[in-house]
């Protein structure tokens, strides 16, 4: 394309003296990944495409539903049932054919996240669940990519920029410095249940695009080390500064291999809060995958457990042996009543924050009761 034509479309922003063709060239060359083509993703995508960001990646594995249209303004009734990422890319390509739109019609997971995110300069988080938010955050920390965070619920939004230093300090902060632990699933409200006023993700998603444009072009002050909350009902913006949390408070995959082994669904699941799992959850887990099981009772304590294989490390020797425990498998620790095992889990996770260790609730006593009961049921079951 002719050089004069190349800028014509963007005249109203290149005419800004703080912006000019210099900033426009930076946008042309930039690569932004938008995670989630939903309420936040749609407006962010539209404005990034309008601004002339050269490459815009779109990740989403969902299909368009009628109830999405109240806020996901890229789609129309004809699109219902179609995949979001591909549909968004088709519409945006018509809107701005000069832009590349790599489409990822998949669920972002540890095994694919790093190789996708690596290709981009900046990530916009427009996802709609905690496992993805923690995953995107951690991947961006590992790859040192700026992350523009946004979230909405009902009438309130949050916006922040992570992994980017401002000029005033060297400090790098991220989502885990605000919310080190995910909330219990029982207390989490989604837009599905709690609702969201359609215009709200429009506002926050557009602000995410604005932050991305500021970061890429270097104009203004991006929200580094800060988070803003926006109350739509009261027209209130409230800004917080964030400082890096002490390392021991965050269970953070620090290396790529730790990241690949980190189970985000599990981390955000029911077990994390108390680091306890019930017998039933334990049974499901040990059938699903290879786990490390440790008995921390002293040698010779009864009853014996012979229902599965485990390692015995008495609590008295636990601290000195702790480093030999595998950190890649999930670890379940049990004792007689489920109390000392909680202490052992605490000890283990304090030393190795990424270790996914759980205490078996009720200990051997609950275990024996469970097996006794299932043996009885299978006996009385008619053939």
């Amino acid at each position: 394309m002719e050089r004069s034509n190349k800028y014509q479309r963007y005249h109203r922003q290149t005419v800004l003296k703080e912006f000019g063709t210099v900033a426009q060239d930076k946008l042309f060359q930039s690569k932004v990944l938008v995670v989630g083509a939903g309420g936040l993703g749609c407006p962010a995508l539209q404005y990034l495409a309008a601004a002339g960001v050269g490459t815009i990646g779109i990740i989403d594995f969902d299909v368009i539903e009628l109830t999405n249209l109240q806020r996901q303004t890229l789609y129309n009734v004809e699109d219902i049932g179609k995949p979001k990422a591909e549909t968004a890319a088709q519409k945006l390509k018509l809107f701005n054919p000069d832009i590349q739109f790599p489409v990822y019609n998949l669920k972002l997971e540890p095994k694919n996240a790093l190789e996708i995110i690596e290709n981009f300069d900046l990530v916009i988080d427009g996802s709609d669940n905690f496992p993805t938010r923690y995953l995107v955050n951690d991947a961006c920390v590992l790859l040192n990519k700026p992350l523009v965070y946004g979230a909405v619920l009902r009438f309130e939004g949050q916006l922040g920029v992570f992994n980017l230093t401002d000029n005033e300090t060297d400090s790098l902060t991220n989502y885990r410095d605000i919310f080190p632990k995910p909330p219990l699933p029982s207390s989490v409200l989604s837009c599905n249940q709690a609702g969201v006023l359609g215009v709200l993700p429009g506002i926050i998603g557009t602000m995410q695009a604005a932050e991305a444009i500021k970061i890429i072009t270097g104009i203004g002050k991006p929200l580094c080390n800060k988070m803003v909350t926006y109350s739509l009902l009261n027209n209130l913006f409230y800004e917080f500064s964030i400082s890096a949390a002490k390392e021991k408070n965050t269970a953070f995959p620090k290396t790529k291999s730790e990241f690949l082994n980190f189970d985000y669904e599990w981390f955000c699941g029911a077990a994390h809060e108390s680091n306890e799992i019930t017998i039933v959850e334990f049974e499901v887990l040990r059938r699903k995958e290879k786990i490390t099981i440790i008995d921390i009772r002293e040698k010779g304590e009864l009853p014996l457990v012979d229902e599965f294989l485990f390692t015995q490390i008495p609590l008295s020797q636990f601290e000195e042996t702790v480093s030999t425990i595998s950190k890649t498998n999930k670890t379940v620790i049990f004792c007689q009543m489920g109390k000392l095992s909680r202490a052992a889990v605490k000890l283990l996770t304090e030393k190795f924050p990424t270790c996914q260790a759980y205490s078996l609730k009720g200990g051997v006593e609950a275990l024996k009761k469970h097996y006794h009961k299932s043996a009885q049921t299978s006996q009385i079951k008619p053939e």
């Binding site: 309130e156 109350s231 409230y238 917080f240």
Partner: protein
Amino acid sequence: MEINVLTFGQVADITSESSLKIPDVKNTDELIQLLEKRYPALKSIQYSIAVNKKMIQENKVLHHEDTVAILPPFSGG
């Protein structure tokens, strides 16, 4: 002494007010204890705390007219 408390999201739903005045609390731990006693539903949710617009991770001494904000995470998009 008196502390201003601002609540957000689910926390505001529980307290049913977006701003509260709380007298005579020495530090954020004491404030949280008092709030959780007054609004037991707070115990079942996760939230973060900011004092005078700075997010904190550990107990912090409070002074007259400090503003404490209590924010829950939410994940909608």
